[in-house]
């Protein structure tokens, strides 16, 4: 009986774990929906900015803004790594940290002084373990990054860049391509290129346009806008806004990707637990049957001996 009972115990443990992973999967699914909705809502803004730039673009695109200036020699750079606060998200954090480490390594070989900023406990623990010094770490960007928080960060980066403290800003995060594909990338946000302003966050999620979407600007017939004050200064004002939005989008993408990664990982774990329960049940049945057979054999043997 001992063996059968041990199997029952084991099966119960697996069933409990399955319950937990299943719940986590459901939670991640709900959070993913919410995060995606937020990201889609935020899309309206980027789309509008892009529309504005397109409307302005006809006049001229030769804006000058300190954020657009490409420095001859990159001496100092800043790497912002976006990871999650919680684990159990499959390869999500590992992938981001791998690309981030590669960039750090490249910078080191090129002799660029890189300051490292990490968001998310997972990344912080990783770099602490490796002994890589961090200049700043954030844990308050949960799965609902707020624009106000991101804006503060963006303002600081803008100031750093304009004051010449950094010559380049990279962000390592997981880009959300679609719900089946996310990849860890390193994106250079500063200096910005005029092209990147023009496309103002090339939208990855063209899918669901929100209700209030304006009709796509028809080419050929231009609306004769009145510019206040003038097209150029508006464009110059758009540059920092565009940067902030791009940074915000990195955060949103990371949040959505995290939930997807967790959802997938937990679904896998649940399925594995299911398989395990099945095979354990089979083992248990066999053990029980073996025991019954043995007892029967003993009974028959005993009866035969009595005769």
């Amino acid at each position: 009986m001992a063996k059968a009972r041990a199997i029952v115990k084991r099966r119960k443990a697996v069933q409990n774990i399955r319950k937990i992973t299943r719940t986590m999967e459901l939670i991640a699914t709900a959070r993913f929906k919410k995060a995606l909705d937020r990201a889609t809502e935020a899309e309206a803004y980027t789309r509008k900015i892009a529309e504005l730039v397109a409307d302005l673009g006809s006049t001229s695109l030769d804006v000058s803004h300190p954020l657009l200036e490409r420095r001859e020699k990159v001496k100092n750079s800043l790497l912002l790594v976006l990871t999650s606060n919680r684990g159990l998200a499959g390869g999500y954090n590992g992938n981001v940290l791998r690309v981030a480490t590669r960039v750090l390594h490249d910078d080191q070989t090129e002799g660029i002084a890189t300051s490292l900023e990490v968001a998310g406990k997972r990344g912080i623990n990783y770099f602490r373990f490796r002994g890589t010094p961090m200049d700043a770490s954030y844990t308050h960007y949960e799965d609902r990054p707020q624009f106000d928080d991101v804006e503060k960060l963006a303002d600081r980066y803008i100031a750093l860049y304009i004051n010449g403290k950094i010559d380049r800003l990279d962000v390592a995060f997981t880009r959300f391509i679609n719900s089946a594909r996310q990849e860890a990338v390193v994106q250079t946000l500063l200096p910005m290129s005029t092209a990147s302003v023009a496309q103002a966050v090339a939208s990855v999620r063209q899918a669901k346009p929100t209700g209030a979407a304006a009709p796509p600007p028809t080419r050929g017939e231009r609306t004769p806008y009145e510019f206040l004050p003038d097209a150029k200064s508006i464009l110059e004002e758009i540059v920092p806004v565009s940067f902030k939005v791009r940074l915000f989008k990195c955060f949103l993408d990371a949040a959505v990707s995290e939930q997807i990664a967790r959802m997938v990982a937990m679904r896998g774990a649940t399925e594995n637990a299911d398989d395990m329960i099945k095979s354990l049940t089979r083992l248990y049945n066999r053990a029980r049957q073996a025991q019954i057979t043995r007892e029967l054999a003993e009974l028959i043997g005993g009866a035969a001996a009595l005769e």
Binding site: A44, Q146, E226, F227, L228, K244
Partner: protein, 143 residues
């Protein structure tokens, strides 16, 4: 031929649609009769049938009027686009005037004024912060 002010679908000069978009979401999307925008150099009133316009916003008060009822928002910079009787306001933050905290704004103003500015960039930042705090104070206290 441009599409503005001819209004093939809806009647021209009838109603305005006012859309306020922040980076997080579309905050406000309603049909109104009148919109007052805080442009960078002063207020601009918009009635239905306004010619197309793109403008830079300052810090100030956005007002909309429907059937005599006025809604007021504090707008934190950004841009405005007017086209085909649709007013789109792109801003970092839009707060209903009732929620603007005058006390916090006056503190912010003090902080901003105390800030040291040595370079052009810092000076511009300081001026911005001061203007922003003043606008908030104005809206927050005028209730």
């Amino acid at each position: 031929m441009s599409t503005h002010d001819t209004g093939d679908a809806k009647k021209p000069g009838d109603r305005l649609q006012c859309v306020v978009v922040t980076p997080e979401r579309t905050l406000f999307d309603e049909v109104v009769e009148f919109v007052a925008l805080p442009l960078f150099d002063g207020e601009l009133g918009i009635l239905p049938g306004r010619a197309p316009l793109i403008g830079r916003l300052g810090y100030g008060e956005l007002r909309t009027k429907v059937h005599g009822a006025t809604k007021r928002y504090f707008v934190d910079g950004g841009f405005a686009q007017v086209r085909d009787d649709v007013v789109t306001v792109l801003t970092n933050r839009a707060v209903p005037a009732a929620q603007v905290d005058a006390n916090a704004a006056s503190k912010e103003l003090e902080l901003a004024q105390a800030r040291r500015a040595t370079t052009d960039f810092e000076l511009a930042e300081k001026n911005k912060a001061v203007a922003r705090a003043r606008a908030q104070l104005r809206i927050g206290s005028a209730r």
